[in-house]
């Protein structure tokens, strides 16, 4: 991976005022965890509920959508992509650092909130393994979402609107009551990864798939979407 472009993308995505606002979203989950801890209801079940109902279905995709769709789409809109396109780099080498930076930025912004949630989740059922699977779910989920929304930004004019429709209506609504729809929900696979570390995690929205397989599937989606971004960059007409 081209480290110059990765550093450039990190500076562009992370070092801006918007990042501070985005970092507040995971703190919402932390706030709920604080309230639960103060009320003495913080345990593994509460942790799984927080991950299942707030962190993975709402906070993670929201952050990944905003960051992922601006990873390449913003450069295309402001014309800076033209500088990168006038280099001998293969187009995949331009897309890959942007997508990786978007995923890393999403994870970096999620981690403080996630760390607080984990720290405030005591109980017999809670273990280091549960924390590790939760972090893994956020990491692979961020990769898949960032790459998918990055690809979306190269295909449609309003990727945030389309992405929101996908997250709210498909993942947040249809996939919650239609079992077959879960198989086409990135969030459902991320929840399946969390379930790997929590035997008590009884989310009926999780597809019948093991945690490792779900993680591999999300990584596969990320790789495929990134490859598609490179291919699209080589073919799309730049403004």
């Amino acid at each position: 991976m081209n480290r110059t472009l990765f550093r450039l993308a990190m500076r562009r995505l992370l070092l801006r005022r918007r990042s501070v606002l985005l970092a507040l979203a995971p703190m919402l989950a932390a706030l709920v965890a604080v309230v639960q801890a103060a009320g003495g209801t913080a345990d593994a079940q509460a942790f799984s509920g927080l991950m299942e109902q707030l962190f993975l279905p709402t906070i993670l995709p929201f952050l990944a959508l905003v960051i992922g769709s601006s990873a390449i789409g913003e450069e295309r809109d402001d014309g800076t992509i033209l500088y990168l396109a006038s280099t001998p780099l293969p187009r995949l080498a331009i897309a890959l650092p942007a997508i990786v930076a978007a995923a890393v930025t999403t994870v970096v912004l999620c981690l403080p909130g996630l760390a607080i949630v984990i720290a405030l989740s005591p109980g017999d059922d809670f273990s280091v393994s549960a924390a590790a699977w939760a972090i893994a779910a956020v990491v692979v989920g961020a990769c898949a979402y960032a790459a998918a929304f990055g690809a979306l930004s190269l295909r449609v004019k309003r990727p945030v609107v389309i992405g929101l429709i996908y997250v709210l209506f498909w993942e947040g609504s249809i996939a919650t009551f239609a079992p077959s729809a879960r198989w086409l929900s990135l969030g459902a696979y991320a929840r399946a990864v969390v379930a790997g570390g929590l035997p008590s995690f009884t989310d009926y929205n999780v597809p019948a798939i093991g945690a490792l397989a779900a993680a591999a599937l999300l990584a596969g989606v990320a790789a495929l979407a990134t490859w598609w971004c490179g291919r699209r960059l080589a073919r799309v007409e730049l403004p």
């Binding site: 081209n2 110059t4 472009l5 450039l8 500076r11 562009r12 070092l15 402001d78 014309g79 800076t80 033209l82 500088y83 990168l84 396109a85 006038s86 280099t87 001998p88 780099l89 293969p90 187009r91 080589a234 007409e237 730049l238 403004p239």
Partner: protein, 318 residues
């Protein structure tokens, strides 16, 4: 690779290129070839200059025709970008980078052996040394334009595609950049520079390609195009007092005007020989005891000039 005639070195070929977006035709059957040296790409706003440059730069595919840059198709062979420098018309730059960081980064991405040194040289060429460590987000339009030029020069390219590079520059900076472009051409590089201002192109390009409404209407030495434009039929409005009608008769009689009409007391004169009219107008008026209060050209804007070139091209059977 394009077969070259003996002694010619074509660096860019634009062969029967058309480009349309939906129902809008941006370029229609345009063909030209470039050799080392500076060539001006002249045309009014919306004439197709930026589209032509984007096609040369490999940012878009032609709808029909072929574009070859240094013998390659940049859309399919990005390695050729090591040999091409591009200043495009978009204004976006990474605002958090300093001018030095940006130019150095572009040098590195194009595999320049010593990016810091190359960046320092390119920044010096465009006269931006004093602002090199400042972030480009705070730059004026002229400074941004010079950063764009520096990044296009940093890898010492054989071919430069410059879209309106003088935009936003003050007169001193314009002179500096014009001189730089001329020097690049004299060094044997191929420079295609677009502009909608003829006299600007004239100062740096010995050769010009003129586009009007997506069509190539003139191509050749800049001086010849300038003469063609200068010698085109013109229309003047002459506010004359006294024997205005007699003056009109004399202008037609002496063959100085191909047509004259009176409009609100002023003569509207069509002439194919501005120089002769200019020499004879005042003596004739004096002989006829007429007064000439004011002479103003009509339809002398760029659109009219380009329309004339279009008509001229059609007359030649284009």
């Amino acid at each position: 690779m394009v077969a070259l005639p003996e002694g010619r070195r074509l660096t860019l070929t634009f062969q029967g290129v058309s480009k349309w977006y939906g129902d809008t035709v941006a370029l229609a059957e345009v063909s030209f070839e470039l050799e080392p040296g500076v060539t001006g790409l002249l045309g009014h706003n919306g004439a197709g200059k930026s589209t032509a440059l984007a096609l040369c730069a490999g940012f878009a595919d032609p709808s029909t025709g072929t574009v070859r840059v240094l013998g390659h198709d940049p859309r399919r062979e990005p390695e050729v970008y090591r040999r091409i420098g591009i200043v495009h018309d978009r204004d976006g730059l990474w605002p958090f980078l300093t001018a030095r960081e940006l130019v150095e980064m572009m040098a590195g991405l194009r595999d320049v052996p010593d990016p810091p040194r190359a960046a320092a040289e390119a920044i010096a060429w465009v006269g931006l040394e004093d602002a090199a460590e400042r972030r480009v987000g705070g730059f004026s339009k002229g400074m941004r334009q010079r950063v764009k030029l520096a990044q296009a020069l940093v890898h010492s390219p054989e071919l430069l595609l410059l879209d309106e590079p003088l935009n936003g520059l003050d007169p001193v900076q314009r002179r500096h950049v014009v001189e730089l472009i001329r020097r690049l051409g004299a060094e044997g590089r191929t420079v295609l520079v677009s502009s909608h201002v003829l006299h600007e192109v004239e100062r740096m390009a010995p050769r010009v390609v003129v586009l009007v409404n997506g069509r190539l209407v003139a191509e050749g030495e800049t001086g010849a195009i300038r003469d063609l434009i200068r010698d085109r039929p013109r229309t003047l409005r002459i506010a004359a007092g006294g024997a205005a009608q007699a003056l009109a008769r004399e202008l037609v009689g002496e063959g100085l005007a191909s047509g004259v009409r009176i409009d609100n007391g002023a003569l509207v004169v069509e002439t194919g020989d501005m120089d002769a009219l200019g020499r004879r107008l005042m003596p004739l008026a004096r002989d006829l005891s007429a007064t000439v209060d004011r002479v103003e050209p009509l339809g002398d804007d760029l659109e009219s000039v380009y329309t004339y070139l279009t008509d001229h091209a059609r007359g030649r059977g284009r």
